[in-house]
C-alpha cells in the first residue's frame, strides 16, 4: 500500500475528475430543481452531508484520516440522491449514502483503490430494499413541490424504463422527442434530460478522454442490444432512443463506468470492462426482476474485474546462470562461505 501523504500526479488527475464530476452533478441538480422544486436540492444536500460525515467519522474511528476523501464522499452522496426519484423521503438517500460509505468505501480503506463503486452499491441496496420507492416516479408539475411517495398528493407517472419493461413505446411525435431531450419525462431526478446528459458526456470526454474508452464500450454494447433485440414494436430507432435515455444508463456511462479507482490500466481492459458492463446491464434489463439494472451490472463487473486483476506475481524473464567464481565471492561476503 503506497503512502497516502505524498501527493502524486495521479492524485491530481483523480481530483480533477471528481471536481469535474461534481460540477456536472451541480448542473444536473439545477435541472432537478427546475422540474421538482427545492425538495430535490434538499435531498441532494442531505445525502451529500451524510456521506461526508460518515466518511470523516469512519476514517477517524479506523485511524485512517489520510484515507478520508471529502470530494469523493460528496460526489457519492450527491450522485445517489440524483439517481432517486424526487418523491423519495429524505431518509432514503441518507440510507443509500450510509450503505455506500459503510459497506463499499470504508472497509476497503484506500481512497485510491475501491473495488466496488460506492454509488452503485448504495443504489443497488436501495433498489433491493425499497423497490417501490426507487421505481415510483412523480408526475412532473414544473416548479411545484413534489409530494412524498405514499402521501395523499403523490401522483405516480410511468417512466420510460417502465414502458420498456411492459413493451410499450413512447409517443412517437415531436413532443415525445422534445420531452426526452429536455427531461420532461418521469425519471430519476438528475438523469431525465438527454440533451443535458449528452452535454455532460461531451465535457467529461474532453476532460478525461482515456477514461472514456470504457464508457464508449458500455454505450455501444447497450446500443447494439437495443437495435438487435428491440423491446418495442415501433421500430429499432425508437428502441435505441428509449433504451439509451431510460433510467440511469447514461449516468452510469458517464460517472460510474470510467471510475479511476478501479485501476484499469490497459485500454483493452477498460474497453472490455465497459462492454461487459453494457452486456450485463442489458441482459438484466431484459430478464431481470427490476426495470433498472445499471447499478447491478456495475457491481457485477466490479467483482469480475477485481477477481481478474487481483495482484499476481509478475512474470520474470529467464536469466543466464552467473559465473561460479563471482558467486563464490558473493557468498563469501555473506560469511557463509566454504572454508
Amino acid at each position: 500500500m503506497r503512502a497516502l501523504d505524498k501527493p502524486k500526479a495521479s492524485d491530481k488527475k483523480r481530483e480533477t475528475f471528481i471536481m469535474d464530476a461534481l460540477a456536472m452533478l451541480a448542473a444536473m441538480a439545477v435541472l432537478a430543481w427546475y422540474y421538482y422544486g427545492e425538495r430535490a436540492l434538499r435531498l441532494i444536500l442531505f445525502s451529500a452531508l451524510t456521506a461526508l460525515l460518515l466518511d470523516w467519522f469512519g476514517n477517524s474511528i479506523l485511524n485512517k484520516k489520510q484515507a478520508a476523501d471529502p470530494l469523493y464522499a460528496v460526489f457519492t452522496g450527491a450522485a445517489i440522491a440524483l439517481l432517486l426519484p424526487a418523491s423519495s423521503p429524505y431518509w432514503l438517500p441518507v440510507i443509500g449514502s450510509s450503505f455506500a460509505i459503510i459497506a463499499a468505501k470504508l472497509p476497503f480503506g484506500s481512497k485510491d483503490d475501491l473495488p466496488f463503486i460506492p454509488v452503485a452499491a448504495g443504489i443497488a441496496f436501495l433498489c433491493i430494499s425499497f423497490p417501490d420507492m426507487v421505481f415510483s416516479y412523480p408526475a412532473i408539475h414544473q416548479g411545484a413541490e413534489v409530494a412524498v411517495y405514499g402521501s395523499e398528493g403523490f401522483t405516480a407517472a410511468t417512466s420510460i424504463a417502465q414502458m420498456l419493461s411492459k413493451n410499450n413505446s413512447i409517443n412517437v411525435s415531436v413532443i415525445g422527442y422534445l420531452n426526452i431531450l429536455t427531461g420532461a419525462v418521469p425519471s430519476p431526478m438528475g438523469t431525465g434530460s438527454l440533451l443535458l446528459m449528452a452535454g455532460i458526456m461531451l465535457y467529461m470526454f474532453l476532460r478525461n478522454p482515456k477514461l472514456f474508452i470504457s464508457s464508449a464500450g458500455f454505450i455501444v454494447t447497450c446500443a447494439v442490444f437495443a437495435v438487435l433485440f428491440p423491446r418495442v414494436i415501433t421500430g429499432r430507432r425508437i428502441s435505441l432512443l428509449m433504451e439509451i435515455s431510460s433510467g440511469m444508463l447514461l449516468f452510469t456511462a458517464i460517472f460510474l463506468v470510467p471510475q479511476k479507482t478501479l485501476r484499469l490500466k490497459s485500454p483493452t481492459v477498460r474497453l472490455f470492462y465497459g462492454m461487459g458492463t453494457g452486456a450485463v446491464c442489458m441482459l438484466l434489463r431484459y430478464f431481470g426482476a427490476y426495470e433498472e439494472s445499471a447499478c447491478f451490472a456495475v457491481m457485477i463487473m466490479n467483482g469480475v474485474i477485481a477477481a481478474m486483476t487481483a495482484q499476481r506475481p509478475a512474470r520474470r524473464k529467464a536469466k543466464p546462470l552467473p559465473d561460479i567464481e563471482e558467486t563464490e565471492a558473493a557468498v563469501s561476503e555473506r560469511g557463509v562461505a566454504y572454508e
Partner: protein, 366 residues
C-alpha cells in the same frame, strides 16, 4: 506468517470457539449462515442442528471411523448428517411456522463437519473429539445467532419475532448478501479485538496477506510444486525398487555452520528435504529437489536409512537456510523480498553443486 511465539494462550473453549472460530476465522460454513440465519429463530435452529450434528459425527468418527480410508469416511459423514438432520427438520416443520426451505437440510453437508472430523476427530480420542465438536459448534452457533439477530433487527425491526419499536425495514439485509455483509463486519471486529486481547499475536488470518510479498508467495508456490514433484518422483523410484547408487567417497569439505535462523528454517523444511532426498539421488529431478535435499535435518534421511553419515557431510552446504532466513527476516521487518536474489542464489548453488559433482566423478574415475 502466524506468529505464535509470544504470550501463552489457554487453548480452552474460548480459544477454540473464538480465536479459531469456524465461520469468522476459518471461513467454513459461511454460505449456510448467510442463507439460513436471516432471523434469530432460524439461526437458533441452525445452531442447534449444527451442534447436534457435529457432536454426533465427531463422536462416531472418533470411535469407529479412524481406520477407514478418507474417501469412505467423507461419504459416511454425509450419511450421518442426513440421518441427524432429517428428523430434526420434520420436527421443526411441525413445531414452527418458519419456512426453512432447502437450506436447513443442506446443513447435513456443511463443510464444517468434514473439516472438523478430518482434522480433530480422527486424531483424538472420544473426549478430545467431543471437546472439539462442542467448541466449534458453540463458536459457530454464537456467530449464527448473532448474525440472525442483527439481520432480523435491520431487516424487520424485530428480534426473535418481538417488535423492538424501531422502524427499520432494510429488506436487503434479509437476503444472502446481507448475511455475507454482516459476517464480514463481524470477522473484522473479531480480528481487531483478538489482536488487542492477545497482544502481538495474529489470529489465523486466512485472508490477511498484507505481511507477505507477492514474490514470497510465488517462491513458496514454486517450492511446494517442486517438493510435490520430488515426492512423486521419489515414490516412483521406490516402486521400481531402483537401487540407490552409492557415490564414491570424496575428500570431506568443511563448511561453516549455518546461523540459527537458517537452522530453524532448515528444520522447518525438514519434511521437504527428506522427501526430496531420494528424488535428488534417483531421479535427478529439478533444481528445487536438488536444493532441498541438502538440508540435513529432514525426516526422509532418517527414514531412508541408506545414506552413509559421512556422505552427508561431504555434501556442500545448502543455500536454502540462507534464503529462508533472509525471507523470514525480510518478512518480519516488512522489507520486500528480492525474488531475483533468491533465484540467483539457487542457481549459484546448482552451479557449485555441478562443479562439485564433476570433481567427484573425476576422483571416482581415478
Amino acid at each position: 506468517m502466524n506468529n505464535h511465539n509470544n504470550a501463552p494462550v489457554k487453548r480452552g473453549l474460548y480459544y477454540r470457539a473464538f480465536f479459531r472460530n469456524p465461520v469468522l476465522v476459518e471461513a467454513v460454513g459461511l454460505s449456510s449462515v448467510a442463507a439460513i440465519a436471516d432471523s434469530s429463530e432460524s439461526a437458533l435452529y441452525l445452531a442447534v442442528v449444527t451442534m447436534g450434528l457435529l457432536i454426533i459425527t465427531e463422536a462416531l468418527t472418533s470411535l469407529f471411523l479412524k481406520r477407514l480410508p478418507a474417501w469412505i469416511r467423507i461419504g459416511i459423514y454425509l450419511l450421518i448428517g442426513t440421518l441427524v438432520v432429517t428428523p430434526f427438520v420434520v420436527i421443526v416443520q411441525k413445531v414452527s411456522s418458519l419456512s426453512l426451505n432447502l437450506f436447513l437440510p443442506l446443513a447435513a453437508v456443511n463443510s464444517i463437519i468434514v473439516l472438523h472430523c478430518e482434522r480433530a476427530a480422527i486424531r483424538h480420542n472420544l473426549k478430545g473429539a467431543l471437546r472439539d465438536a462442542f467448541a466449534a459448534s458453540f463458536g459457530y452457533g454464537v456467530v449464527a445467532i448473532l448474525t440472525g439477530i442483527i439481520r432480523e433487527f435491520l431487516g424487520a425491526g424485530t428480534v426473535f419475532g418481538i417488535d423492538t419499536g424501531a422502524k427499520i425495514n432494510l429488506t436487503g439485509m434479509l437476503m444472502p448478501f446481507g448475511g455475507f455483509l454482516v459476517l464480514g463486519f463481524l470477522a473484522a471486529a473479531l480480528s481487531r479485538n483478538l489482536n488487542k486481547i492477545y497482544e502481538g499475536r495474529k489470529s489465523e488470518n486466512s485472508f490477511d496477506m498484507s505481511a507477505v510479498e507477492d514474490t514470497t508467495v510465488f517462491a513458496l508456490m514454486i517450492a511446494n510444486a517442486k517438493y510435490i514433484l520430488a515426492q512423486i518422483l521419489g515414490l516412483k523410484s521406490n516402486k521400481r525398487n531402483k537401487p540407490i547408487k552409492k557415490k564414491p567417497k570424496a575428500a570431506p569439505v568443511k563448511r561453516a555452520k549455518p546461523d540459527k535462523e537458517g537452522a530453524a528454517a532448515a528444520a522447518g523444511m525438514g519434511a521437504a528435504a527428506g522427501a526430496s532426498h531420494e528424488a535428488d539421488e534417483n531421479a535427478q529431478g529439478g533444481t528445487q529437489a536438488d536444493t532441498l535435499s541438502q538440508t540435513e535435518e529432514g525426516k526422509g534421511i532418517e527414514a531412508s536409512g541408506t545414506k552413509p553419515e559421512d556422505e552427508r557431510q561431504t555434501r556442500p552446504a545448502s543455500t536454502l537456510p540462507i534464503v529462508m532466513s533472509q525471507a523470514r527476516a525480510n518478512t518480519e521487518s516488512n522489507v520486500s523480498l528480492d525474488f531475483d536474489e533468491i533465484l540467483k542464489e539457487l542457481s549459484e548453488f546448482n552451479a557449485r553443486r555441478n562443479s562439485d559433482k564433476t570433481e567427484d566423478d573425476k576422483t571416482g574415475g581415478e
